[in-house]
C-alpha cells in the first residue's frame, strides 16, 4: 500500500473513531494546514493543489495499471451557459466550487449532492471580457473567499454559504473584474484584478480573512516617483492595464509570494506607450506581509500581442537550485532562479516567429518586424498564445513539466484608439491567420531544466484544458472536442478517455474520501468526477 493511500485510510479511521462516519467533519483550515497541504493528499486545499503551483496529487490509487477502468462517479450540473473554468477545492469530504456569474457551492464530495449554493446578485452592467467566468475559491478558517465579476471580494461561511463579509475592491464600471481563485496565506486573502482589455490600472490586493479589511495593495503600474514609472511614455501609465488575473504561489521558507501580470493596455498598440511598460507581463516576488516587491522579471517587454504572463508559475528544486519556471504565452519556456529573479534560460516550446535574438540578460527580444501593422501582420503564437491561463503541472516522480501548447498563429492589426473609461481598449484587433496550416495543439512533456521536449501528445485543435499529474504515474488533461484523457506520465501514451460532451476550459484536480481516489474536472456546465469502479 502506498504512503498516500495509507494516509487516506488513516483519515477515514479517524473520522470513524470520532463517530461521524457518514457525515463529514468540517475542520478549520488553518494557515499551517495550507503550508503542509502536500501532507494531506486526500484534500485539494487551494487552486493549484499546494503552494508550489505544481498541480500534482500524491494519490496513487488510480494509476497506470488501472486507469483504463475509470468510470464517472457523479456529475454536478450548474445549469448555466458560458465557459466553466473552476478548479474545485476539497476539504474533509466537502467540495467547494464556483461557476458562471459568481455561483459558489459546497457539495458532498462522495455524491455531488449540494450542501449549499450561493449566487451573487450582479449588477446588470457588468461586462467582463472573455466570459462571465470564475476559477474557484480559496479556503481559510471557516470561510471560503470569492473574487466577483463586480470587483468585490467576499467571504462565505464554509458551512452555510452565508455571506460573512463583502468589500468593494474597485469600481467595476471602469472595466475591473475578478475571475481568479484567491490565494490564502497566513491570515490574508490575496487577489489580483482582471481587466486588461479596458485600460485599467492593475493591482494585487491582500485582505484580512476575518474582517475583509484591506491590508495592502501592490499597484502593478508604478506611480510617479516610484521605480519603473519611467518605463511608460507620457500619461500612458494611467491606463496601462497590467492586470493579475491568475492565482499566485507561495514559498513559506522565504516568505515570498509569486504573482504574474498581464498585458499592457492597449494590448495591440505600442505607439504612445513607449518603454518597457513595467510591471506588465512580469513575474513579481512579493512579501505577503507588506506587499513590498522583492524582485521582478519581465517576460515580454513592451508587449504588442496581448501575451499576458498570467500562467501559474511553478516552483521546482533542481540540484540545489531553487527555480521557478513558466511556459509563457509568448511561446518561450523560462527557467528563473527564484532566490534572485535572474533568468537562467528561455527556450521555445511552441512555434514562435517574433523573436530571433536575445537581450543582454538572455531574454528573448522582439524583432522589429513583429509589431502589428494597420492591415495586419502574421505572428506566431497568436493572441491566445502558445498557452494561456490553463494550469501546467510538474510531476516530482517523472521530474517532467507538462503544459498545454497551442499552435495557432494570428494576424495582428493596430490602429490608434482613444481611451474611454469602461470601454474596450484594444488598439485594434487580431484574427486567425487562415493562410497557415490548421491550428492544432499538444500536451507537451518538457525536461524542466533544459526545456527540451521529452514527448508530446497532439490535440487535433488548440485546447484550453489544464493538466494534473498524480503519483499514480498519470497526467490528466482535456481537449476542445470534449474528451477528458489520462496519459502515462512517462511516455505520453493514452490510457483512458471519456467524452464529456463539451470543450474543457478548466484544470483538473484530485482528492480522496473514505479511501477512494477521485479525479475532478469542469466541462460544459457540469462538474465531473471519475474513480475506479
Amino acid at each position: 500500500m502506498s504512503r498516500a493511500i495509507r494516509m487516506v485510510g488513516v483519515v477515514s479511521l479517524t473520522i470513524c473513531a470520532l463517530g461521524i462516519s457518514g457525515r463529514v467533519g468540517l475542520a478549520q483550515v488553518t494557515p499551517q494546514r495550507l503550508v503542509d497541504s502536500s501532507k494531506e493528499p486526500a484534500n485539494w486545499l487551494m487552486y493549484s493543489g499546494d503552494y508550489s503551483g505544481r498541480r500534482f496529487s500524491a494519490l496513487d490509487q488510480i494509476n497506470t495499471a488501472n486507469a483504463r477502468t475509470l468510470v464517472p462517479k457523479w456529475v454536478y450540473q450548474t445549469a448555466t451557459t458560458g465557459k466553466f473554468e473552476t478548479t474545485p477545492l476539497v476539504v474533509d469530504g466537502v467540495l467547494y466550487g464556483t461557476g458562471v456569474d459568481d455561483r459558489a457551492y459546497a457539495l458532498d464530495a462522495r455524491t455531488g449532492r449540494p450542501i449549499w449554493q450561493y449566487q451573487r446578485a450582479l449588477p446588470g452592467d457588468v461586462r467582463p471580457c472573455c466570459g462571465r467566468v470564475n476559477r474557484g475559491v480559496a479556503i481559510l478558517g471557516d470561510k471560503v473567499f470569492l473574487g466577483t465579476l463586480d470587483a468585490h471580494v467576499i467571504a462565505l461561511d464554509a458551512k452555510t454559504g452565508n455571506l460573512r463579509w463583502d468589500v468593494v475592491a474597485v469600481d467595476y464600471r471602469k472595466g475591473y473584474t475578478f475571475t481568479l481563485a484567491p490565494l490564502a496565506i497566513k491570515n490574508l486573502v490575496i487577489v489580483g484584478v482582471s481587466g486588461g482589455e479596458y485600460g485599467i490600472s492593475g493591482f494585487i490586493d491582500a485582505y484580512d480573512a476575518n474582517t475583509g479589511a484591506r491590508k495592502w495593495r501592490f499597484n502593478t503600474i508604478p506611480g510617479p516617483g516610484e521605480p519603473g514609472h519611467d518605463s511608460w511614455e507620457g500619461e500612458s501609465w494611467k491606463t496601462g492595464g497590467a492586470p493579475a488575473w491568475i492565482t499566485g504561489v507561495y514559498e513559506p521558507t522565504t516568505n515570498t509570494t509569486y504573482w504574474t501580470t498581464g498585458n499592457p493596455s492597449p494590448s495591440n498598440r505600442g505607439a504612445a506607450r513607449g518603454g518597457d511598460n513595467l510591471y506588465s507581463n512580469c513575474l513579481l516576488a512579493l512579501d505577503p506581509d507588506s506587499g513590498k516587491l522583492k524582485w521582478h522579471f519581465q517576460f515580454t517587454k513592451h508587449d504588442e500581442h496581448d501575451w499576458d504572463a498570467t500562467q501559474v508559475p511553478v516552483m521546482i528544486e533542481d540540484g540545489g537550485k531553487h527555480l521557478i519556471v513558466q511556459a509563457n504565452r509568448n511561446g518561450f519556456y523560462y527557467v528563473i532562479d527564484r532566490s534572485t529573479g535572474k533568468l537562467i534560460s528561455a527556450t521555445p516550446y511552441a512555434k514562435i516567429t517574433w523573436s530571433s535574438t536575445k537581450d543582454a540578460e538572455g531574454r528573448p527580444a522582439a524583432d522589429q518586424d513583429s509589431s502589428p501593422t494597420l492591415e495586419g501582420r502574421a505572428v506566431c503564437p497568436g493572441a491566445a498564445g502558445a498557452t494561456n491561463w490553463m494550469s501546467p503541472t510538474y510531476d516530482p516522480q517523472t521530474k517532467l513539466f507538462y503544459v498545454t501548447a497551442r499552435e495557432q498563429c494570428d494576424i495582428f492589426s493596430t490602429a490608434p484608439q482613444p481611451y474611454e473609461e469602461g470601454h474596450a481598449y484594444y488598439g485594434s484587433a487580431y484574427f486567425p491567420n487562415d493562410e497557415t496550416e490548421p491550428f492544432w495543439g499538444a500536451l507537451r512533456a518538457i525536461e524542466p531544466r533544459s526545456g527540451n521536449l521529452k514527448w508530446e501528445y497532439k490535440h487535433r485543435s488548440p485546447t484550453w484544458s489544464g493538466v494534473l499529474s498524480t503519483a499514480g504515474g498519470l497526467v490528466f488533461t482535456g481537449d476542445a472536442e470534449g474528451n477528458f484523457i489520462a496519459l502515462d506520465a512517462a511516455s505520453g501514451k493514452v490510457l483512458w478517455h471519456f467524452q464529456t460532451g463539451a470543450s474543457i476550459y478548466s484544470s483538473p484536480m484530485s482528492f480522496a474520501i473514505e479511501g477512494k481516489q477521485y479525479v475532478g474536472v469542469a466541462s460544459g456546465s457540469a462538474l465531473f468526477t471519475f474513480g475506479l469502479p
Binding site: Y430, P432, V494, Q499
Partner: protein
C-alpha cells in the same frame, strides 16, 4: 375580459405603482429603439470602427469585408435582416443556428447598447449602396448548377441537390463576389476553419477522408466531425459512417477538397459569372433568409 380604469387619485397612484413594478419585473426588450440614434454620424462611425475591430473583425474581417468565418457585412443585403432593429438584435442576442454569439463577452468583450449602435453606424458607413448584382444570367446559372457544371451533385440550394458539400442557399448573401469566384476556381484554398469557442463546439470543415475498416471496406468522403478517438463521416454516396479510429485499418485525412478545381476549361468565366449570379439571386431571395 374588461379592464377597469381607476378613476380616483389614490387608486390611480396604486395603479401607476403597480404598472411601474410590472415594468421592473418584466424588463423591456433590449431593442427598445428600432432606429439607430447615431445614423449617418461620421464621428460615431469612427468610434464604431474601434468597437468593430475589437469585437467583430475576428470573424468578419478588417473593414467588415468578411473573414474566414463571418460574412461580408459591406453587402447591402444581409441574410439575417437589414433594418437597424434586426441588426441590433443580431448583435445583441446572436443568431441562433450560426456561430454568431450574443454580445455578452463570450468572444471579445461584452457590448453596451450604445456600443452596438456605434458598430451599426460603422457598418452602414462601409456598406455598398446598391444590392450586389453579378453581371451574369442567373437563369442560365441555375441550369449550369444542376446541369453540365454538376454543382448540384454535391451542393444543395433551397432543398434541391447533394449533401456532400456545403448548402449554398445562403452563401450568395454572405460572401463577397471575389470569395465565391475564388472558391470555385480554387476549392482547396480555404476549407472552412472551425472555431472552438464556448458558443460553438465545431463547424464542419469539409476535410476529405479515406478510411479502411478492419474487414477491408474502403470509404471515401468528407469529415462531419472528429475528435482524437472517433470520426463521423459522409461517404460519396451520402451514407453516414461512425468509426472508432483505433479499430480502423487505416485513416487518412486531407485538406484537399473533394471538389475539383474548376479551371477555364471546365467552366468559362462567363458561365462562372452566371452561376455566381444564380447564387446571389437565391441569397437575396426571401426563402434564403428562412
Amino acid at each position: 375580459m374588461s379592464v377597469l380604469i381607476p378613476c380616483n387619485k389614490s387608486s390611480y397612484i396604486a395603479f401607476a405603482t403597480a404598472a411601474l413594478l410590472l415594468i421592473g419585473l418584466f424588463p423591456v426588450p433590449a431593442q427598445a429603439q428600432s432606429k439607430n440614434p447615431y445614423a449617418g454620424d461620421a464621428k460615431v462611425a469612427k468610434v464604431g470602427e474601434f468597437q468593430f475591430r475589437s469585437n467583430c473583425a475576428f470573424c468578419h474581417g478588417l473593414g467588415a469585408r468578411g473573414g474566414g468565418r463571418g460574412p461580408d457585412l459591406t453587402r447591402a443585403q444581409k441574410r439575417h435582416g437589414n433594418s437597424d432593429a434586426e441588426m441590433f438584435r443580431n448583435i445583441h442576442d446572436g443568431i441562433a443556428g450560426t456561430a454568431m454569439p450574443a454580445a455578452v463577452g463570450s468572444i471579445g468583450v461584452a457590448m453596451t447598447e450604445e456600443e452596438i449602435w456605434q458598430v451599426i453606424t460603422y457598418i452602414r458607413s462601409v456598406q455598398v449602396k446598391a444590392p450586389a448584382q453579378a453581371a451574369g444570367n442567373s437563369a442560365h446559372g441555375k441550369e449550369l448548377f444542376y446541369g453540365s457544371a454538376t454543382c448540384g451533385t454535391c451542393h444543395m440550394v433551397q432543398g434541391k441537390g447533394g449533401r456532400l458539400g456545403p448548402d449554398l442557399t445562403g452563401t450568395g448573401a454572405a460572401r463577397s463576389l471575389d470569395y465565391l469566384i475564388d472558391s470555385v476556381r480554387h476549392p482547396s484554398k480555404r476549407l472552412a476553419i472551425g472555431i472552438t469557442e464556448a458558443t460553438k463546439e465545431f463547424s464542419q470543415e469539409y476535410e476529405s477522408v479515406t478510411v479502411v475498416t478492419s474487414d477491408g471496406q474502403k470509404f471515401m468522403g468528407v469529415v462531419l466531425n472528429e475528435d482524437d478517438f472517433t470520426v463521423q463521416m459522409m461517404d460519396t454516396r451520402e451514407q453516414i459512417h461512425m468509426f472508432e479510429k483505433e479499430k480502423l485499418k487505416s485513416f487518412e485525412k486531407s485538406r484537399e477538397s473533394l471538389m475539383p478545381p474548376y479551371d477555364q476549361k471546365m467552366l468559362s468565366d462567363k458561365d462562372l459569372q452566371d452561376i455566381v449570379a444564380y447564387l446571389l439571386a437565391v441569397g437575396s431571395s426571401r426563402e434564403a433568409a428562412q
